[in-house]
C-alpha cells in the first residue's frame, strides 16, 4: 500500500507501476482534476491546504478500511496540496483486486470517504481575493 501527499504533479501510470499486485485480474484508477472554472467566474486557481501527518494517517485508515471491506490486493493514494489550476490533477486512487466488482467498489468507496475525512481544504483564488470552498462533514460525526 502506498499513501502519499505532495505538492508535485504525478503520472498516474508511473505511480501504479510502483505496485504490482500479482494475481490481480482488475485494476481501477480514479484521477480527479480541477474542473474548468465557469466562464463568468473570476477564479484563477485553487489553493489546497492540508494538515500534515494527519492527512497521511487518515488516508491510510481509509485505504485499510476499503482493503478489508473489498478484499483488495493493493491500494495506492496520491493527493496533492498547494496551488492548482484548471485541468491540474488533484488526486489519484488505484485499487487492485481479483475481480472487477471489488476493484470498482473499493476505488469508489475510497474517494467518497476521503472527501469527507481527509483533512484538505480548498480555497478559490480570484483577482480580488479568495474564498474557502464549503466542505463536507464526516458521516460518522454528523
Amino acid at each position: 500500500m502506498i499513501v502519499r501527499v505532495q505538492s508535485e504533479d504525478f503520472d498516474p501510470e508511473q505511480e501504479a507501476r510502483a505496485l504490482t499486485a500479482t494475481g490481480a485480474g482488475a485494476r481501477v484508477s480514479f484521477v480527479g482534476t480541477v474542473r474548468d472554472f465557469s466562464a463568468g467566474s473570476q477564479i484563477t486557481a485553487l489553493d489546497i491546504e492540508h494538515y500534515p501527518r494527519m492527512t497521511e494517517a487518515e488516508l491510510t485508515r481509509v485505504a485499510q478500511q476499503a482493503q478489508r471491506t473489498w478484499d483488495l490486493l493493493d491500494v495506492l493514494i496520491v493527493h496533492r496540496y498547494g496551488r492548482l489550476r484548471a485541468g491540474d490533477r488533484i488526486v489519484l486512487v488505484v485499487t487492485w483486486a481479483h475481480h472487477r466488482k471489488a476493484a470498482f467498489r473499493g476505488c469508489e468507496e475510497i474517494i467518497d470517504v476521503l472527501k469527507t475525512r481527509a483533512p484538505f481544504w480548498k480555497k478559490e483564488i480570484t483577482e480580488d481575493g479568495a474564498t474557502w470552498v464549503s466542505g463536507e462533514i464526516p458521516a460518522s460525526l454528523e
Partner: protein, 78 residues
C-alpha cells in the same frame, strides 16, 4: 501542555495557526478552544470540527497532557 493547531477558515478567523496550552487536568476540546481563542471565538460561523492526536473526534471529547488538538472547518479534498 497540549499543542493546538487551527486550519483553513478556522485558522484565518481566529488568527491562530499553532500554539501550546498548559492544562492542569484533562479538559474537553471545546474548553481548550474557548481558552485559546478568547473573544475571537464568536467570529466562527459554526462550531469547528476537531481532531485529537490526528483522529477525528468531537468537541466534548477530553484532551490530555501531551495531546495535539486541531480545529478546522469541514474538509473539501479529493
Amino acid at each position: 501542555m497540549v499543542t493546538v493547531r487551527c486550519f483553513a477558515g478556522v485558522r484565518e478567523t481566529l488568527g491562530l495557526s499553532t500554539c501550546t496550552y498548559a492544562l492542569e487536568k484533562p479538559m474537553s476540546a471545546q474548553a481548550v478552544l474557548t481558552a485559546v481563542a478568547g473573544e475571537r471565538l464568536s467570529a466562527l460561523s459554526a462550531p469547528p470540527l476537531v481532531a485529537i492526536n490526528m483522529q477525528h473526534s468531537r468537541l466534548e471529547n477530553l484532551v490530555c497532557d501531551g495531546d495535539e488538538v486541531a480545529f478546522f472547518p469541514p474538509v473539501s479534498g479529493g
